[in-house]
């Protein structure tokens, strides 16, 4: 029988190979799913892995979707590395979008370009505020950050819904629940003509660089992570777990809020009930699949973006429900967690129970 045996050291090979194996398994399960539904699996895989990179325009769209995923995931990695389970990034994203949208709505014809900075700042502060509630309740009341941050997602959705159905509804919008379209001056600058890629992508990549330096080259970054790996050691070294908690939640909240601002002042251009697109949840998968490492998360954000675009294409061209994206995202995380067993353990063939150790 097969037996799991603990490795003396974590396997370096499998640290990198496990996400790849997980992707292969997910693709195989996807092929099985397509065949079960009577669809051509080759066409199906094309939608996910070839169409999104076929043309330069498609590549641009891939980056447009990868940007918020990466920004949120970078923040979440700080949380997960310090063993703080913020799973409410979706809510922080929404409140960031709401605050950014609120500022963008203030702009009129005479407003200068500086408003973009104000919009982004509002997004960051909004996300930090929302995550700050979770941090406060965890810090002062010992309440589970998992449940609080998640409950706040539903509350955030209701805040957005209240605003677009109520005070911020566009009076000239035929009673649709949406705000006015923001003035053009609030639009996040784009990198080039003919593509929707904005400076948000640069900010995400620069952010990944900063995160790398913070995590691996600063004392503060080290102190931040020790609490997650070995709480007792962190206490002994005098690293404050409360500080780590606040830093983790404010960083990830700010990042998620920034992503929300980049979305509403970028591709969306107004507040609607459809601002929450599940990026906050998908970014959790991005963070884990990217090994909580900045470079890894750049790759996994692109991969997750492919899942989104592939899902949309599967809907329009193959007549499959768009929710197939969620199925694949969930499967990928499942497979990754299972494959990660191989990092710490190896499989050994044991002849029989009696013959073994």
């Amino acid at each position: 029988m097969l037996k799991l045996e603990m490795r003396p050291q974590a396997s370096r090979l499998w640290t990198y190979a496990s996400p790849v194996l997980a992707l292969v398994l997910t693709v195989l399960l996807g092929v099985a799913l397509f065949m079960a539904l009577g669809k051509d699996p080759v066409r199906g895989l094309q939608m996910f892995f070839w169409e999104p990179i076929k043309t330069s325009y498609a590549l641009g769209e891939l980056m447009v979707k990868a940007t918020p995923l990466l920004v949120i995931a970078l923040g979440l990695s700080v949380c997960f590395r310090s063993n703080v389970w913020n799973i409410g990034a979706e809510g922080q994203f929404v409140i960031g979008a709401v605050c950014a949208g609120g500022v963008a709505l203030l702009a009129d014809k005479d407003t200068g370009r500086w408003i973009v900075l104000a919009v982004l700042l509002a997004g960051v502060l909004g996300g930090m505020l929302w995550a700050g509630i979770t941090a406060l309740l965890r810090d002062r009341f010992n309440a589970s950050e998992i449940l609080v941050s998640l409950m706040l997602v539903y509350v955030a959705d209701m805040v957005l819904s209240y605003l677009v159905y109520g005070p911020w509804k566009d009076p000239a919008g035929f009673n649709f629940p949406q705000s006015k379209t923001f003035e053009a001056v609030t639009q996040i600058p784009r990198l080039m003509d003919g593509s929707r890629v904005s400076v948000g992508l640069l900010m995400a990549l620069v952010g990944a660089g900063f995160l790398w330096v913070f995590l691996f080259r600063t004392r503060a970054g080290f102190a931040q992570q020790v609490g997650g790996l070995a709480p007792a050691a962190a206490r002994y070294a005098g690293f404050s777990s409360r500080k780590a908690l606040w830093v983790a939640l404010l960083t990830s909240g700010g990042a998620a809020g920034l992503a929300g601002a980049l979305e509403v002042a970028g591709p969306i251009g107004q507040l609607t009930p459809y601002v929450p697109a599940g990026y906050g949840f998908a970014a959790i998968i991005v963070a884990f699949v990217g090994r909580l490492h900045p470079a890894g998360m750049v790759l996994s954000a692109v991969l997750m973006s492919m899942f989104y675009i592939g899902g949309e294409l599967a809907q329009s061209r193959l007549g499959l429900p768009k929710s197939i994206t969620g199925v694949f995202q969930g499967l990928l995380l499942f497979c990754l967690l299972a494959c990660d067993t191989l990092v710490a353990y190896r499989l050994r063939w044991v002849a029989s129970k009696k013959g073994g150790v």
Binding site: L4, M6, W85, I87, L137, F141, N142, A143, S144, I146, L147, V148, L150, M151, L152, Y154, V155, M158, V159, S161, Y162, Y165, G166, F281, I284, I285, F288, P321, S323, I324, T325, G326, V327, F328, Q329, G330, L331, L333, F334, L337, A338, D340, T341, A344, Y345
Partner: protein, 306 residues
């Protein structure tokens, strides 16, 4: 007065969903396993149960399908967490994310289906009592089933030998292992049983409570059920009480709208979630109290032989 009788009836109905799910999660947690996948699992069970009723016309087959779906998903979760030692939080999260997507994917064909009218249940004689009858005795049998389940669970956990072993596995897996109990198999059994109960709750939502299928219709009830086990400091009777309390909060929004209170409907919809946060903060405020009541090995993997 009539409207209050109906409010109580609706509260019991809404509380039943939370109670069944939270009791299932309680069994998991008593054995030392946290299943954050409850939400996704309940969604998959909801569509499984709904589909079964659409095709067979039998509610009880729907409940069975929901329980089956819940048990299967919980078993997958259990094997990953217990045998492969994956992180319980991350794995539960994966189950939730997968369940949200998978149920929406499978359920797309059932969105417009409507279940036929079913006979209303009423306890003979008692249902005819004015006010008390409509409030308490015109409920679906599962509402009373949830109450019996609590009694059964109290007996099982605190009066039976198997329950004692289950609690031992949750409190000190190493001791249970030393006494020769198969810790991992017991945990898996607890996870599967808990998953089946969550599945039953999910199917109750789509078959009786709502009754229709909408994407994401569990709407956080799985997460509230998870919070309920903490509220109740892991005691079955308190779980039931807490579930009715939250059922009441959920129903209050409709009642307030009914009597014409001028509050934004979004605030009322957000009320159960805000209430969860507030109660969670109040209960968790005393860390010692939580630590004393919480199963000691909660969330920690166990490797026999290490």
């Amino acid at each position: 007065m009539e409207s209050y009788a109906l409010l109580i009836a609706a509260t019991l109905n809404a509380g039943t969903v939370l109670a069944i799910a939270a009791l299932g999660l309680l069994i998991n947690e008593k054995a030392g396993v946290v299943n954050l996948g409850a939400e996704g699992l309940m969604l998959c069970a909801a569509i499984a149960g709904f589909a079964a009723v659409v095709h067979t016309g039998n509610d009880w087959l729907g409940f069975a399908a929901g329980m089956g779906a819940g048990a299967v998903l919980a078993a997958i979760f259990g094997v990953l967490v217990i045998w492969l030692g994956t992180n319980q939080y991350a794995t539960g999260l994966a189950l939730s994310l997968f369940g949200v997507g998978f149920s929406a994917f499978v359920g797309i064909g059932y969105v417009k289906e409507i279940l036929p009218d079913r006979p209303h249940f009423a306890v003979p004689y008692l249902a005819d009592i004015p006010l008390v009858g409509p409030a308490l005795f015109k409920q679906h049998p599962l509402v009373y089933g949830a109450m019996l389940l609590v009694l059964a669970l109290i007996w099982f956990l605190y009066r039976s030998r198997t329950g004692l072993v289950l609690r031992a596995v949750g409190e000190s897996p190493a001791s249970a292992h030393a006494l020769g109990y198969p810790v991992r198999r017991i945990r898996l059994a607890a996870v599967v049983a808990g998953g089946a109960l969550c599945g039953l709750a999910g199917a109750y939502i789509s078959v009786i409570y709502t009754p229709l299928w909408v994407e994401g219709m569990v709407a956080g009830k799985g997460w509230i059920a998870l919070a309920l086990t903490t509220f109740a400091t892991w005691r079955p009777a308190r779980v039931l009480l807490g579930a009715y309390l939250f059922g009441g909060v959920t129903m209050l929004q409709f009642h307030l709208q009914g009597v014409g209170v001028q509050v934004p409907s979004q605030l009322l919809t957000a009320l159960p979630y805000i209430a969860t946060i507030v109660v969670l903060a109040l209960i968790s405020r005393n860390p010692t109290w939580i630590r004393v009541n919480m199963p000691a090995s909660l969330g920690k993997p166990f490797y026999p032989g290490s």
